[in-house]
């Protein structure tokens, strides 16, 4: 088996809000093809971690290394890094005045400098892969939550990113719509996409992820393969899984 390269390295990321420490010295490596599920209770710092990675929130301390090079906190460096990292939001965040195809084409035009006609062709291919080929000219408000999230995923993938960050991609959806988004993410995983998924869905962790990172009060308290994680006797993990099963 060939050794996979480290694509992303987080080194001692810390973040506080109004004196409240939300992330505490978080460090881990992400290898090519890794699908990492980040689990933890609400307020554990999962979303903050994801946002600190692509600098939507500026960390107080710590560094992010991408393919061995430090991501500097300059506009140019952050822009370049973001163009290689797809981000899928919990609430989709599609641009409401743009048609679906233009939503997906936008980063190609604005970041890669592609012409609209070419970008739309690329966007169409991406949208067909998430089974939205019939909705190209619809507006976001004309789609269901599940469809909007699939557009969000297509938008994140259109730049052919090296890694995709997904922030609770199914938690804003009706239970009946979760399946369609999970199927798309499962397909991405089987294609070897590198992903970090912040989620409450243990199904992701069990069946899609190859690694689970567990956060408690902003610290990593478990980092293991899914089988090991779900069989863990750790108090924190047991308490989390018990609470989760009680909610479900």
């Amino acid at each position: 088996m060939t050794e996979r390269n480290v694509i992303l390295k987080l080194s001692n990321l810390s973040k506080s809000f109004d004196g409240l420490s939300v992330l505490k010295n978080v460090s881990f490596d992400v290898k090519e093809g890794d699908v990492i599920a980040v689990l933890g209770s609400s307020g554990a710092g999962k979303t903050t971690l994801l946002r600190c990675i692509n600098n939507l929130i500026t960390p107080d301390e710590g560094e992010v290394f991408f393919k061995g090079r430090q991501v500097e906190r300059t506009r140019q460096s952050i822009r370049s890094f973001r163009s290689k990292v797809g981000f899928v939001f919990q609430r989709f965040n599609l641009i409401s005045h743009l048609r679906i195809v233009d939503n997906v084409a936008l980063p190609l035009v604005k970041v890669n400098g592609m012409k609209w006609a070419d970008a739309r062709k690329a966007a169409e291919i991406q949208l067909r892969q998430v089974n939205l080929g019939e909705k190209l000219t619809s507006y976001p408000s004309q789609l269901s939550g599940g469809q909007q999230q699939r557009v969000g995923i297509a938008r994140a993938l259109v730049m052919n990113p090296d890694i995709v960050l997904l922030d609770e991609p199914t938690s804003a959806l009706d239970p009946s719509l979760v399946g369609e988004v999970m199927r798309v993410i499962r397909r991405l995983s089987s294609e070897g996409r590198t992903m970090i998924i912040v989620t409450h869905e243990t199904e992701f962790a069990k069946h899609i992820a190859n690694r689970v990172i567990f956060l408690k009060d902003g610290e990593i308290t478990a980092d293991s393969c899914p089988t090991e994680f779900f069989e863990s006797k750790s108090d924190d993990v047991t308490e989390f899984l018990t609470d989760l099963s009680a909610i479900v």
Binding site: I95, H97, L106
Partner: protein, 244 residues
Amino acid sequence: MTRAMSKIILGVIVAGMLWFSYSSVSAVYPFNWRSLARYYKLFIEGIVTTLQLSVIALALAVIVGIVVALARDSKVNLLRDAGTLYVWFFRNMPLLVVILLVYYGFGSAVNIDRFWAGVVSLSLFEGAYVGEIFRAGIAAVPSGEKEAGEAMGLYRSQIMFSIVFPQAFRISIPPLIGQLVTLIKDSSLVSVIALGDLTMRARQVGTQTLAVFEAYILLAACYLFMTSLISLVGRILERRLAIP
């Protein structure tokens, strides 16, 4: 009762009331509409001047408004405070005083044409209101969409031009149309500096023909027609540009 039916009934009632008022006044005031007819060109000149004044002033007010809105939204304290000061000044100053300050005040220092004095006064004054309209429009764009732009790797200027402004503009159309209507009405104040707008021309015609009541009735009808037409165009534009 259907909406159309209620509109017809209201129309009949209003027409009846107007006719009754007109007939009652006619008993004591001999209306002389014929004398106005000879001066119709003067009225048309007035309408053209009012429209020119309003359209140019609105265009400039939009530019002023964008600058004010961006300043008020700026992360630079000096710009934000300057924007706030501008809005405070013009929102607390009667338009008439602004016109007098610009024409008679600055006009005594530099030679300024009446028309452009009117344009400058109106655009500076209305710019403060347009700025607040744009600021509200910008604030109404969901922050998640701006964040999505950031996550894609767009520059701040690209986020503003591709995501924020197109939506803020659409959101601002109804209040902007309202502001244009206000601007047309406010433009009647420039008659104090003897600029030949519609109000000024009506006063002239009234004085020359002694048909003062008739001239002012026609003046009121002209303003009502212009502002109603703009409101109608605005509603069409709003529907066309609406995001589904």
